[in-house]
Amino acid sequence: MFKTMMRRAVALVAAAGLAMAAQAAEPIKIGSFLSVTGPASFLGDPELKTLEMYIEKINEDGGVLGRPLELVHYDDVGNASSARNFASRLIRSDRVDIIVGGSTTGATMAVAPLVQQAKIPFISLAGAVVITDPVKPWVFKTPQSDRMAAERILGDMKARGITRIGLISGTGGFGSSGRAQTLEVARDMGIEVLADVTYSGSDTDMTAQLTNIRNTEGVQAVLNFGFGQGPAIVTRNYAQLGIDLPFYQSHGVASDSFLALAGEAAEGLRLPASPLLVPDSLPDDDPQKAIVQKYKSEYEARWNSKVSTFGGYAYDGLMLAVKAIEAAGSTDPEAVREALENIRGYVGVTGEFNMSPDDHNGLDADSFRILEVQDGGWKLIN
């Protein structure tokens, strides 16, 4: 709490100083609630760092519409009900112009009815498909959904001639939502899921489930949808059992720490991921290459820690907000909302956004890159 207040104080002082530079113009208030501490801090921490850093940068360059940006931030500690309280504070007492935040799907969904009612544009940084499907007029989001991950993975399998797979998934929120999406997408794509097993988040050995898949007649590849340390254990057990079928993981483990945990066992597995993991191997004509490289180097120089995919969501959220306010020419909520809905061809860190009234995410499955683990590092496949 004290930290949040300090941050706010610092932000206020900074904003005040800059406001004078920008002819004492009224600041544009960007509200945010993120899980900076608590169990989801790996999401909220890089997100807040990204917002702070780029708001500073934008203000140095003269702000937006000649007005400086001011960040009003609260830490929801990964708790959906405090997220709701803070969002209501942002709307009622801080009177922010737009909200960029919501590290988790739970926090986002708790806040969605509030912003709908108050009619304040809200850009969420959380993953699940329910946030923008069905479309809520005032709610947008920057990360790809788990459905797109499933489409991308199954698409890559199909390209390799694989039509019968085994699925192993975690029973947590991420794994079970991923499992449901995978089953649906598989049916649409004509891929048969022959084995469908699960493990709980605290399991320490998945050999039994994998043996079950291995003994299922006709399985050509295995997909693991899960989050945390579970997929790393699955990867190790997979290697120990000596299963030599192609192995896929989800975007939930697309990070260097997963490679450190799984070690050599991860060799050869494929997963969909943000281009942020392989900025230098993107082809030169990739429109995202320059922006991804720039974000990575700026973030790492400023914070002296490794860039993460989640910070990228915040970068895109902030830039979309700025773009919309610029296009609207004011901070009038309805004008900003409409401008957000009409953003086309914005190339961000996560992908190319093409918003529309029936798509408040704006990304397509191709924004995921399929990576393969080779020699302990990521290799771009396509």
Binding site: T207, N215, G228, Q229, I233, Q240
Partner: protein, 291 residues
């Protein structure tokens, strides 16, 4: 068919041996004080995490393990001195609640010191799994089983052949009488906490290459270890081992033959059945309450 069965059995024995090691730690403190030490899982976590961070400092594995186990032992003594001893003649239930508080404190401290990431630890020997009749066995599982067996034998000898061991047993049977015959019961309790912390830390170190380790690994493994101890009968060393192995094997068989969704449900139904027919567990002592 047989290979499949063997694979599930290996999986079950590996998980079960882990549970058994943790259950032994519960048993030890329960024997000395009738307290169920819910900070037992935290000793396990300290063992794994400290080993990983000592190794990251460049220490050889063996030295890192010894230091980590010693660290946990000191922590066990501190827990008894600073949290349990000041409560003096408090109820057993109060003491159990104190251990829960201590576990939350230790976990919080570990989170501050080591962060929230999971860490990998290399196998003690080869990474190459062992193949038996078409099933595979992680070489680390043999370490878990071997070290578990050695610890069980050592504990049995400790309680039956050494004066200190007998003093612990005496204290558990009747604290006042033990004090009357000249046993320093506070000392004995401290010792029990230390030995059980050592035990927990060793368990944490041998299972870390299989399960990974993080600041919160103690919650889940500690709980499963407690369940294993309860099935076997609290206070019985043999019961802890049998209970642990049984729980592990039932879980693995359920995941393999029935469905992984029902694995925990099957394990917990088994506990209900066992405790319903044998309320003191499989090997629990028959105690007559005097009114």
């Amino acid at each position: 068919m047989f290979a499949e069965f063997l694979q599930y059995l290996f999986t079950g024995i590996t998980i079960g041996a882990t549970y058994a090691l943790i259950a032994l730690g519960f048993t030890l403190i329960y024997n000395a004080s009738h307290v169920i030490n819910f900070a037992q899982g935290e000793f396990l976590m300290i063992g794994g995490m400290a080993t990983v961070s000592f190794m990251a400092m460049g220490m050889p594995m063996l030295l890192a393990i010894i230091l980590a186990v010693v660290l946990a032992g000191i922590l066990g003594i501190l827990l008894q001195r600073l949290a349990i001893a000041p409560a003096k003649q408090a109820d057993v239930v109060t003491l159990i609640i104190i251990t829960i508080g201590a576990s939350i404190f230790i976990r919080g401290l570990a989170q501050l010191v080591w962060g929230k990431d999971y860490h990998a630890m290399p196998n003690f020997s080869t990474d190459e799994p062992i193949r038996v009749f078409g099933a595979v066995l992680n070489s680390q599982s043999l370490w878990v089983l071997g070290i578990g067996a050695v610890l069980v034998v050592a504990l049995v000898l400790f309680f039956t052949r050494t004066l200190i061991g007998k003093a612990i047993l005496a204290t558990s049977m009747n604290k006042d009488a033990a004090r009357l015959v000249g046993i320093r019961t506070q000392m004995v309790l401290m010792l029990a906490f230390m030995v059980s912390a050592l035990l927990g830390a060793i368990a944490g170190v041998v299972v870390a290459p299989i399960t990974f380790t993080s600041y919160d690994i103690g919650i889940m493994l500690g709980l499963k270890g407690f369940v294993a101890a309860a099935i076997g009968g609290l206070g019985s060393g043999l019961g802890a081992v049998v209970g642990g192995l049984l729980l592990g094997i039932v879980e693995a068989m359920a995941a393999g033959y029935i469905s992984s969704d029902y694995k925990d449900a099957v394990a917990f139904s088994m506990i209900l059945v066992v405790l319903f027919f044998m309320p003191r567990g499989l090997f629990g002592a028959k105690v007559v309450e005097r009114v």
